[in-house]
Symmetry: C2
Subunit: 327 residues, 2 copies
């Protein structure tokens, strides 16, 4: 059994607890929290809840520590810190800052001789792998990534900060015509506005200026101004009833030419349709914990990403079983 | 530059020659043939055509030998044979015989200290990888593989062997309702007849008994009797005009449950839509040649499959470029 420690018990940590229960070779040792451990109830019988301050006491009882904090403030410090004492896995997802995060984690993991597997999830993660495979196979081509239909936490939060807004959910939605273009084999140029629209569901305070809220959303730099955005004002009840899930997903599509004169088009498409974004991400983390454990067992060290992981390391099946049943 | 030797110059070998030309770090050393080398014209300037009997003379000039023969009779002998002297890559695709092929190739490659990367293509190959990833991430689920719409060479050949048939093409076609079922999250049981239909386009000899041909096709054991099959008699001209391509493709779909009580469904779908089946397969072979070269350079030995290859090894980009641009 691979003994897992979870740091952080938000949506991701809770999802990981459920994912561990689905894998016979993984066992939850315990959850580490910044809150008072007494205030936190977990599902798994026999697993403990501990203060994150005591984590080093359990060093010998944990094979892989999975960091389930956020990319903005938690992981940039946590992953290098815990890589000093543990095999660690994270889902760091701020694409632009991955090289810096990698460098910091790599230095810590190389010094301690541990493995740190970062940016495990679906984007970065499974989408990244698919961009890599598709580009390696079809070099004369172009790839497209679409996200959605799904809830963007960052965009929802941005709306909630507007004066007069009580609550909000924002969906990122791929434009059907753009998806068709990506699949057409014509490799069209698609701008930001062409690829996605943004749908907002907003609960306004009584007496709030809805026209002004809508204008503020639609013109918000970076978040909304480059997109076609629709704003729907709904009641708190409707928001709760219809929009309490955290679905997401998306598409990675690459069309590449083959043949003597590039006369043939070949289209590779990978897509996800997820009822629960955090539960799927944590399911990837669970498989990555297994892979990290194996890499560490083989004496590898330093920071790695899914690009470095042989697919077989993610599966509980033996090499023989994989070849016989899945190849 | 990684210097590639090609053994066999059918559709696959020709496709590989084109694929090599698309990759700046790959160079074609030459093509090895059982035919008279003088009878064979290749595209690549500066590359040679040699008798396969002379292949050992060029051992030092070839980094990776890619075997482009068939799985029925060529590869079972060729891959173990050439693994004695070369880093080799093949596209062995008889699923049921993979364990035996692996064992034979592994013994040869381990003895010589070479790397042999087998069963590289799309199924086995990219589809296999996707079955593995999806199953590792979503253990509580079920996966479905669909093939087509595309030409099955084996089924076309089987029709051609019927008395009174001059030529034929057979398309394997996924059933739309079955695809929708696989994507529904309900994980239906789908039998052979539910998943695919078979469409046949047949050129009959003048005066041939078409009713009998149709009956012979539809009741042919293993090939057609378990499927709903349609038979269309057309002219040789129409067959040439409308059915001379070798398109193929398919879908790997897995739906898996997550959450405390499996209350959320998540669907992973990978699909290919290929104008040219052999050119796509050979594009995978080209990327695999790069990976095999790297594995050999790192001192690995023995028989491997794509399950054992870290994705990064398939790409010409550096680890830094991959993390910065694709992660």
């Amino acid at each position: 059994m691979i003994r897992i420690g979870i740091v952080g018990y938000g949506n991701l940590g809770k999802g990981l607890e459920c994912a561990i229960a689905q894998n016979a070779d993984l066992a939850l040792f315990g959850v580490f929290t910044r809150r008072n451990p007494k205030d936190l109830k977990i599902i798994t019988e026999g697993a403990g809840v501990y203060s994150v301050d005591d984590i080093l006491k359990y060093k010998e009882e944990i094979d892989v520590l999975v960091l389930c904090g956020g990319s903005a403030t938690d992981l940039p410090t946590q992953t290098p810190l815990y890589a000093k004492d543990f095999t660690v896995v994270d889902s760091f997802d701020t694409h632009a800052k991955i090289p810096a995060h990698f460098a910091a984690v790599d230095a810590a993991a190389k010094e301690s001789g541990n493995i740190a597997l970062i940016s495990c999830g679906w984007d970065p993660g499974m989408f990244s792998i698919n961009r890599l495979y598709a580009g390696a196979i079809l070099p004369d081509g172009k790839d497209y990534t679409f996200w959605g239909r799904g809830v963007s936490q960052g965009h929802s939060d941005a709306i909630r900060r507007i004066e007069g807004v009580l609550d909000a959910k924002q969906y990122t939605v791929p434009v059907e015509a753009a998806l068709e273009g990506a699949r057409s084999g014509k490799n069209p140029e698609l701008g930001t506005r062409d690829k996605h629209t943004r749908e907002c569901f907003v609960v306004a305070a009584e007496g709030a200026d809805k026209a002004k809220i809508e204008e503020t959303i639609k013109t918000m730099p970076h978040y909304f101004d480059e997109y076609n955005t629709t704003v729907n004002f709904i009641s708190a009840e409707e928001l709760k009833r219809e929009h309490s899930g955290i679905p997401h997903g998306g598409f990675v599509i690459r069309c590449g030419k083959t043949g003597k004169n590039g006369e043939n088009s070949n289209i590779i498409e990978y897509s996800l349709k997820l009822d629960s974004n955090p539960e799927f991400t944590s399911s990837v983390l669970a498989a990555c914990a297994r892979a990290a454990y194996r890499m560490k067992s083989e004496g590898m060290k330093g920071c790695k990403t899914l690009f470095d992981v042989p697919p077989a390391y993610l599966s509980p099946l033996s090499a023989e079983e994989l070849r016989k049943n899945l190849l």
